[in-house]
Symmetry: C2
Subunit: 346 residues, 2 copies
């Protein structure tokens, strides 16, 4: 099977997407893998497999690669005899942050009838924006952490007690995120978060909260990953982040009770079904006093959360053959014909 | 000024979009107007102005028109000397229903840095899906009608009393919508609605409810239309619908109290700001016992609700010069360079 990975994008997470894509090259061992890079200008390039090193992109060398355009059914390069398709069975959207997680790439691929793995546009919009995630989770019966919301022009005043965590509403990978331990620190944290977004979300920060991650997909049956209790030594810095996006070896499952595990799994299913069909997403949960809360949905998780699955590639292949596609709409101009008749113009 | 109108689409509302586009030709008198048709197969065609008649599309004659492709900055036709841009100052998304109102076209145009009038992807997703509209409206302090939600696989049982109105969650133009007066009629109404969507929303049907429509935009200042009390003689059939999408003469303002008018205007502003910047939308409100409720948001209203404005074209031009665009993200590969250094590979 041939899998084409789309990565990069006009996104604050452009660079970690490169790291993710390089990791997938190691993970997808049995398949033929191709790479399409979306640069900062949103030009598409076909990248040879042996050029998949981060310096190739950082140096700008990638610009010598073959340029592609997206048209109906897929990506094409120009050749002397017209245009030549990049042959693939399926496309994986591996663009983190803007473009990839906000629904734009999903919209492009749906519009042009490309088979792809990614949340669709509706699912992307609801999971990319943390405010919408909250109300969506509530609507399907999954608890979330209480929060406050501030826009750039709002008075910088919050009701909840400290410490709190301040996050831009629309970003992932902890960009623009701060833990604020007193009112004196709030202003600076908001300045940082508003650098990246017009809106921020503020939640209570619970020291040493239990966090559990679970990824999964529906491939005609549920394929849920192991539950991981991620290690949190201090806060995310760039090395920790790099580790997150380059992980390719399987984890050890969290040692939790069966009841807790089932609750996490049930919450995942409520979130995923049916909105996220066609995607592999990772949900991050908190456990507080025995209750499970959704922290966030990662619509395009770092390195596709491959390390959480015991058979990632096989699951990926199964998902590829059970992808949703839009219903076909027959347009027969009956309506216009009736108007024409009614007007005596038929 | 040159305005290019994008219409058609792979949508149940494809045909009314053609009617809307023909109407806009009459409305935009002072501008140069061009037309790009998206056919059922999602191919793009440049349509000469004198071919803008519904029979040109219904007959399939449009296929002889110049084919276009969408690339960075806009639409292009092939010429002997490469490709030629369709010159325009702004593009209007006039595709009703799927593609146009679900955020796909907005995503394509944002991705390719085209200046366009339409709700952006996030705003489209929230207004296209009536369930999300409800929770969004609530979150900005606008009341909506109570409702129940059924999915295709749910038991066909509702709690509320009859009569009710059954609507597909994601469509406009009253497609798939029924008024149900007793339990015996529910099954058929659900069959009809589920033809068009996997989810339906059910609301109490209030005979002779007062309905008021208001359209508007933010062009650096609020530009709110008159308030109309639409005429409802019986239910929408195809002639009535045709009238709605072909309206081009100004209405008479509803005779309502100043208090009610202000409440409607304030509700509109809460919905519009800031999510809908860059668009002209129409909101339909109900008045029940002196209270204002949002019924629905029309992200791409029929004939752009031109008939509600006293100076539609001037407002349109003002909006064209105050369109939002995505923030530029600088990608400097600092992060990858730091990893390289840390690894001793710099």
């Amino acid at each position: 099977m041939t899998i084409t990975i789309l990565f990069g994008g006009s996104s604050y997470e452009h660079e970690v997407s490169i790291v993710s894509a390089i990791t997938m090259k190691k993970v997808l061992k049995k398949s033929t893998v191709r790479f399409i890079f979306v640069d900062a200008m949103r030009d598409f390039y076909l990248i040879e497999n042996d050029r998949m090193k981060s310096s190739f992109f950082a140096s700008g060398e990638y610009k010598k690669s073959k340029k592609l355009i997206l048209k109906k059914t897929g990506f094409f390069s120009k050749s002397i005899f017209g245009s030549k398709a990049v042959d693939t069975d399926v496309l994986l959207n591996l663009i983190h942050g803007r473009d990839g997680e906000d629904g734009k790439i999903a919209a492009l691929l749906s519009f042009y009838s490309v088979l792809f793995i990614s949340p669709r546009t509706e699912a992307s919009v609801l999971s990319y924006n943390k405010l919408y995630t909250k109300s969506f989770a509530r609507s399907v019966g999954v608890q979330t952490i209480p929060y406050e919301h501030l826009s750039r022009e709002d008075e910088r005043k919050i009701e909840m007690g400290y410490p709190v965590i301040v996050k831009p509403v629309r970003l992932g990978s902890s960009i623009g995120l701060s833990v604020v331990r007193s009112m004196a620190e709030l202003d600076y944290a908001l300045d940082v978060a508003f650098e990246f977004d017009s809106d921020v979300i503020i939640e209570p920060f619970v020291e040493d909260v239990k966090e559990y991650n679970l990824a999964g997909a529906w491939t005609g049956k549920w394929e849920l990953s192991m539950v991981e209790e991620p290690q949190k030594d201090g806060f995310l810095d760039f090395e920790k982040k790099y580790m997150d996006f380059s992980r390719d070896s399987q984890i050890r499952e969290a040692s939790i009770s069966n009841t807790l595990k089932q609750e996490i799994q049930e919450s995942f299913k409520k979130i995923y079904n049916p909105l996220f069909h066609g995607s592999i997403v990772r949900c991050d949960f908190f456990e507080v006093e025995g209750e499970v809360y959704l922290n966030e949905i990662n619509p395009v998780p770092g390195s596709m959360a491959n390390y959480l699955f015991s058979d990632f590639e096989d699951m990926f292949v199964r998902l590829s053959s059970s992808l949703p596609s839009e219903e076909n709409i027959v347009i027969d101009y009956q309506y216009i014909n009736s108007i024409q008749s009614a007007k005596g113009k038929a």
